[in-house]
Amino acid sequence: MTDMPDTTTTGNPSHDAPGDVVDDAAGYYREGDPIADTKSPDDQPVERRWSERKFSARMANPAKRRTLSVIVVGTGLAGASAAATLGEAGYQVKTFCYQDSPRRAHSIAAQGGINAAKNYKGDGDSVYRLFYDTVKGGDYRSRESNSYRLAEVSVNIIDQAVAQGVPFAREYGGLLDNRSFGGVQVSRTFYARGQTGQQLLIGAYQALERQVAAGTVETFTRHEMLELVVVDDGSGPRTRGIITRDLVTGAIDTHIADAVVLATGGYGNVYYLSTNAMGSNVTASWRAHRKGAFFGNPCYTQIHPTCIPVSGTHQSKLTLMSESLRNDGRIWVPKDPADVTRDPRDIAEEDRDYYLERIYPSFGNLVPRDIASRQAKNMCDEGRGVGPEVEGVRRGVYLDFADAIARLGRPAIEAKYGNLFDMYTRITAEDPYQTPMRVYPAIHYTMGGLWVDYDLQSNLPGLFVAGEANFSDQGANRLGASALMQGLADGYFVLPNTIRDYLADGPFDTVPDDHPAVVEARASVQERIDHFLTVNGTRSVDSYHRELGNIMWEYCGMERSAEGLRKAIDLIRSLRDDFWRNVKVLGDSESLNQSLEKAGRVADFFELGELMCIDALHRRESCGGHFRAESQTEDGEALRHDDTFAFVSAWEFGGESGARELGTPVLHKEDLVYTAIEMKQRSYK
């Protein structure tokens, strides 16, 4: 692996020189054997690999498919589309979701759009260009074969969605409209006003419900997966099922199948406040991880710079405002910390610090998400943040439209951003036409997830992971409008084609209820539930969750340092210890008990949070949205180390010793090999 030098990195970096290997995480982990993806036909050129794999993957004939069963956990874009497609193919499918309907999965909240290399605008787009943009956007930390395939099937997604009746925006000629999104040079984003995620999910949901009516899919709503069943009868481990809790009746059930697909989304809620839904959680992935599935790049999270700031300690979630606002709004804070409580309209022009325009004169307010986010945090940490003071800090910066309104007129601004301004007004009761908006970064997406090979299969045979829950396609950062693309690519087109290779060996032996693996899994679920209900402590689950979130945001958020991460690990460990001894969960386990549900999820967030910090500590480089204080250029910009860190960190669970003590996690490295694209350092000055 060679580091491709770039003009911005020729100066002497202030801290690490390329090639320096400092193991900050020494003592926190053990290094295991390297791991490799064995499914991608890497001897083929990148553009041939998916065709080749589809051809080489074995098949089951239609009669046999009816005897094969698949469990799909999660019914967002990836889960619903996978379940529908597998049902159409004739497999027996069961889906599970914690919501009261598959239609409510959090994919529904995606606003912007979905990329596809259709080149309907004739502006020079191509599969290769989308592939290139995705790899570059991911800061060269994604797997090349996966990213290429994502771009390749993107075109099929649009065809499928349109055929299902997804009402994408259209032009007067009746053809589909596209817009440019996320700073790319072509218009390839398809959209349905600001509700693209909703429309795509409803399309997938309807396809799923059609299969329910056809009898191929059975849906289990208000059910949460609490354990994975991995059976090893001498021929190696096989994932054979899940243990679920019926959230209404409290019934613990075993569901056995020939394969299990996790499509359970991201883990942004480890930060407590994020743009995720209240119920979004890592439990399914984490239970699989504890059963042996590797967790890839847990520290890769995406932070969105323009969310509505926290208004008080009661805040339960953060609401995203479209990034497009930065096209016309100017971001500033007062120069003098004494001015932060003044009416912004009374602060003179010369007393304002338009810090992005000052630091990044060529990109100004349009710098990438991670830079805009990090600088906003820096300003607030300097005491120049604005808005309400929450826990001693004002977390907000102004996004000012006064100039744009003066230049373009209010009607033009209304036409472009009216719905966003209305949303802002509804939440904050402030009028952005009169006074500057306040925005602050928030956790939005997680690129890390369970490690999978080219077939989307984890290292546990029979466990497949799709969508945001896996780590594979986005690298260290995600391009705008490509989350929806990945979820649907995995569910409609990739997984149904790769899972058949595994299922060709099935159906596997039945797993009786008294099988030791089932008994153990059920006992572990029951033990946790019983524990939570009998601790009789003093603190609510939410209060622990909020405190954990604060630690994660402070030390494992946008800017990370070895010192901070070590501190965070200590804080998490002691808080986790207190949680197990002092949490207060009322009610019983035989009925709907939302505190009990949350307790299980927060328990898993604690363990994940610690692993995220260890991963971040180990990755002593700034890449994607992650700025490591120890890895920056002379002028304070992110510095990546392709010579030392061009690999996927696949973490193996380190086991658990007595008193819920976590063992040392084991790091398996998967080298990232680029054959079609050469690595470059980013520059936005």
């Binding site: 499928q160 309807q206 939440i427 409609y492 609510s540 939410d542 009610g587």
Partner: protein, 247 residues
């Protein structure tokens, strides 16, 4: 702000329920309605009383999970979802009555949580276009006039929250069914199954035990996504067409 809350508490589907009264102090006008309930739940938990169960998920007005009858209005006094309602819509000293959606096809599971799976079954009965994955022609193969695409979109914004049923004096889900029938019927892709779709969806709607529509209009007024009454006319029209075609 100080509030008096009268909240429906019911242990489970089989139990009798009743309104309980709680006092809540130090409510900030910037809180969302659900954050206010979060604060109440923290208070109850600390006092050893089981927190109030209520549904919510995205808390940004799109998932349709939240579902509260607030002072006799579905999602409260503003045209939005409960999660986007803020306490500044209320006054210091107010008494707020909070009940679950009431409809026989939406049985109460606990406190303020109801079972809305009837909506899923209505979709199963025909709320889709039958196209298997991979069987789609190129997306530009069939142009769709912009006005049809826009109307389809407007009706497709339904979030399936059930406010229409909750608000309707007849407990009818006609607005929900009409929105889906109009969305899919407006597109060329939806024509082949149009007659079957409307008949099966209405038959399922009736089977679930929803009431018939008397065009009162409370549903459209309660809809957080402002789906208009037009869709019920369209639903009736489509059913009449299916009748004419012998379905």
């Amino acid at each position: 702000m100080t509030l008096t809350l009268k909240i429906w508490r019911q242990a489970d589907a089989a139990a009798e329920g009743r309104l309980h009264t709680y006092q809540l102090d130090e409510v900030s006008p910037d809180m969302s309605f659900l954050e206010m309930l979060d604060v109440l739940n923290e208070q109850l938990n600390a006092a050893g009383e089981e927190p109030v169960a209520f549904d919510s998920d995205c808390r940004e007005g799109i998932c349709g999970m939240c579902s509260l009858m607030i002072n006799g209005e579905a999602h409260g006094p503003e045209v939005t979802t409960t999660c986007q309602l803020h306490m500044r819509s209320f006054a210091d000293g107010d008494t707020i009555t909070i009940e679950p959606w009431r409809a026989a096809p939406f049985p109460v599971l606990k406190d303020l949580v109801v079972d809305r799976s009837a909506f899923d079954r209505i979709i199963q009965s025909g709320g889709y276009i039958s196209v298997n994955t991979g069987a789609a022609p190129d997306a530009h193969a069939i142009p769709v006039p912009k006005q049809n695409a826009d109307r389809a979109f407007d009706m497709a914004t339904c979030i399936g929250c059930g406010a229409c049923v909750a608000a309707c004096p007849n407990g009818s889900a006609s607005l929900f069914v009409g929105a889906k029938v109009t969305h899919l019927g407006e597109l060329p892709q939806g024509q082949a199954e149009r007659d079957h779709r409307v008949v099966n969806m209405v038959a399922q709607h009736d089977h679930e035990g929803f009431g018939g529509c008397t065009n009162i209009g409370e549903c459209a007024a309660a809809c957080p996504k402002e789906i208009p009454l037009d869709v019920i006319s369209q639903l009736n029209r489509d059913l009449r067409a299916a009748m004419r075609h012998g379905h």
